[in-house]
């Protein structure tokens, strides 16, 4: 395919120091994303997807400890750079769009001042009002020049999210990471942001990583999907394969309980009984085994990662038959 990998996560483990022991939020995750590609990281609360996203831009909270592994951006391990070098990369090479577009902005500065500060810190020439306005225009903000003089509260949630995306793209980063970019928005605004992100692919040649629990957003936007459970990537593959030929029982269960796919006439919705395992002492075997309807005796043993087809991987004993 000749795809250039821009960001590569290799055997990464991240833990949080807790009074009861270390909580292993990300466990031996390996992923990569290529230029021009949209990778979706999908999973429920507590699966480690936000910690993984934070590690990708090297913005882990102070309590987080990187146990092993590397996050390579164009070949350089970001986690092992000096702080000044990390800051230079962040924003310039990797940019992030957050879930809540209100708290991402300072309420007492105008949109123009904030975006100029942000991009000016890297390159003063980018902070010129005409360039800022052109980028706001590109992300679909009407009357972009006037928008620069407005305060965050004067914009709707959808408009603020557009500004956040514009600010991130001004730097022409190699990787854009969006953590739940549509979760705080109405369905109409969500559709517009999805449309915008998809449309940006035609001009933006970096990689996009979308982190969300929303299956619809993943299906609409992504080329490839990594499904996370209990800190691990339990399944990875092309979006069509994940949605139409899921191999891991967790992926199947997750897809089955989305009300959008269940026939309303069927009455009850399928659920996933049980809870996440305690990640301060994760089980040595399959983490999904206690909740899995297909579990066998072997499932309490360490799980091999198998490759059912090119570009796919599954962390499950069953498929190994």
């Amino acid at each position: 395919m000749g795809m250039t990998v821009v960001l590569e996560v290799q055997n990464l483990s991240v833990a949080y120091a807790m009074p009861g022991g270390a909580l292993q939020a990300v466990r031996d995750v390996s992923l990569s994303v290529a230029r021009g590609e949209v990778l979706g990281i999908m999973g429920e609360s507590g699966c480690g997807k936000s910690t993984l996203a934070a590690a990708m831009i090297n913005l882990l909270p102070p309590a987080a400890r990187v146990g092993q592994g590397a996050v390579r951006l164009n070949g350089t391990d970001m986690l092992r750079l000096a702080p000044a070098a990390q800051r230079a990369l962040r924003g310039r090479s990797v940019a992030m769009v957050f879930q809540d577009p209100m708290t991402a902005f300072n309420p007492v500065l105008t949109i123009g001042q904030q975006v100029a500060d942000f991009v000016g810190a890297h390159d003063a020439s980018l902070a010129r009002p005409d360039r800022l306005a052109a980028m706001l225009d590109r992300v679909g903000i009407p009357d972009a020049a006037r928008c620069l003089g407005r305060y965050p509260h004067e914009l709707s949630g959808g408009m603020r999210q557009r500004v956040a995306i514009a600010a991130a793209l001004l730097m022409q980063p190699d990787v854009l990471i969006a953590d739940e970019p549509t979760t705080a928005l109405d369905v109409t605004m969500e559709a517009q942001i999805i449309h915008l992100l998809r449309d940006l692919r035609t001009t933006f040649d970096g990689a996009i990583v979308i982190v969300t629990h929303h299956l619809g957003v993943i299906a609409e936007l992504c080329d490839r999907v990594a499904v996370m459970y209990a800190g691990e990537v339990v399944e990875e593959g092309p979006v069509d394969a994940i949605f139409h030929d899921p191999q891991h029982p967790y992926t199947r269960a997750l897809l089955a309980c989305d009300p959008a796919v269940v026939d309303p006439a069927s009455g009850r919705l399928p659920t996933i009984a049980g809870r996440l395992p305690d990640l301060t002492a994760p089980p040595p075997g399959c983490a999904f085994e206690p909740r899995c309807g297909m579990a066998l005796a072997v499932c309490s043993q360490p799980v091999p990662r198998r490759v059912p087809a090119a570009g796919r991987s599954v962390l499950c004993h069953r498929g190994a038959e």
């Binding site: 429920e44 959808g158 109409t188 619809g216």
Partner: protein, 319 residues
């Protein structure tokens, strides 16, 4: 049969306090709807459509500027009237964790309604256990504090609190917002069970149409504080009569990469209520708007299929 809840031409104006704007800003205009016994009605619309204001007005938390609220056929008025209504109708709030006081235990929180409404509570611990069992929570959880609960547990505690005084109507504001899909399914199943077992009626406020399809018998669509369509859920989803309803349904991301939408169903944002469009208020975003839509406001009228829609061309869309 008399409906549990009836709203007749309900209007809510937000006082602006200015000299020229003394009349107030209309948030809800002429909303008429009813919820029958054991019925589940969904109220949908984007942010700013007036959904939450409507819930607050029903509960007496927001002054009404016109129209009437009837509960069990009797008009509700005055502080005492709404206090009585809040005993028979309970509210489930959007942010379940934030709606629970952090310094009270779950056991106290689920029985708090008895104390607020001065109802007899001979054995609080037992009542708490029973309420928690109703929503599928273990008794031990009564000793926990809200921060020790997961999102799904907090939501269940919210349901248990709402059920404390055996209400006949539950008003649920975004009952599954912020929940994971698997937990969302659990909460929706629980709501369906309670409806069957206790004969509860629901007024569900949400912008999640996938949820609406599963829980609502009827759907009421609000746009800028007015009802633009109303009808049985299955029929509305099969053939929406108002272009706004059609746009909302089309905007929902489908969890199937083979059904990606090529084009946008709806552009732009909800106009400001300070500058309501002339004519049909949806014409600024309507893909089907014609000249008459820019000039004349349509009424909410029955369609040939027996639903209500506020569109000049409602019958044509359905053909």
């Amino acid at each position: 049969m008399i409906p549990v809840l009836e709203l007749q031409n309900l209007s809510v104006d937000l006082p602006l306090g200015g000299f020229l704007t003394r009349g107030g800003l209309p948030i809800l205009q002429d909303v008429t709807l009813s919820v029958g016994r054991g019925e589940s009605v969904a109220l949908v619309g984007e942010s700013g459509s007036g959904k939450t204001t409507l819930a607050r007005a029903v509960m007496g938390l927001q002054a009404i500027s016109g129209g009437a609220v009837r509960f069990d056929g009797k008009a509700v008025a005055g502080r005492d009237g709404f206090a009585r209504l809040r005993r028979d109708a309970a509210m489930m709030f959007q942010d379940a964790t934030a709606s629970l006081s952090p310094r009270l235990t779950v056991g106290y929180l689920v029985t708090e309604a008895f104390r607020i409404h001065r109802q007899p509570l001979p054995d609080p611990a037992r009542t708490a256990r029973e309420l928690l069992a109703t929503v599928g929570l273990p008794p031990a959880i009564a000793h926990r504090y809200p921060h020790e609960l997961s999102g799904g547990q907090a939501r269940r505690v919210g349901v248990a609190r709402a059920l404390a005084l055996r209400p006949r109507l539950v008003i649920a504001d975004e009952p599954t917002a912020g929940l994971d899909v698997s937990v969302q399914a659990e909460v929706l199943n629980l709501m369906a069970d309670l409806r069957r077992d206790m004969g509860l009626a629901y007024l569900i406020i949400t912008h999640n149409l996938a949820v609406v399809r599963h829980v609502a018998d009827r759907i009421v669509v609000l746009y800028l504080g007015r009802v633009v369509e109303e009808g049985p859920t299955a029929e509305v989803f099969a053939a929406p009569a108002h272009p706004y309803t059609a746009s909302l349904i089309a905007a929902e991301p489908k969890p199937d990469p083979r059904k990606r939408r090529a084009d946008l169903a709806i552009r732009g944002e909800v106009p400001s209520i300070l500058r309501r469009p002339k004519g049909c208020e949806f014409h600024t975003r309507c893909p089907l708007a014609r000249d008459v839509c820019r000039l004349t406001a349509p009424d909410l009228r029955p369609t040939t299929s027996g639903r209500l829609a506020r569109c000049h061309f409602a019958d044509q869309h359905q053909e």
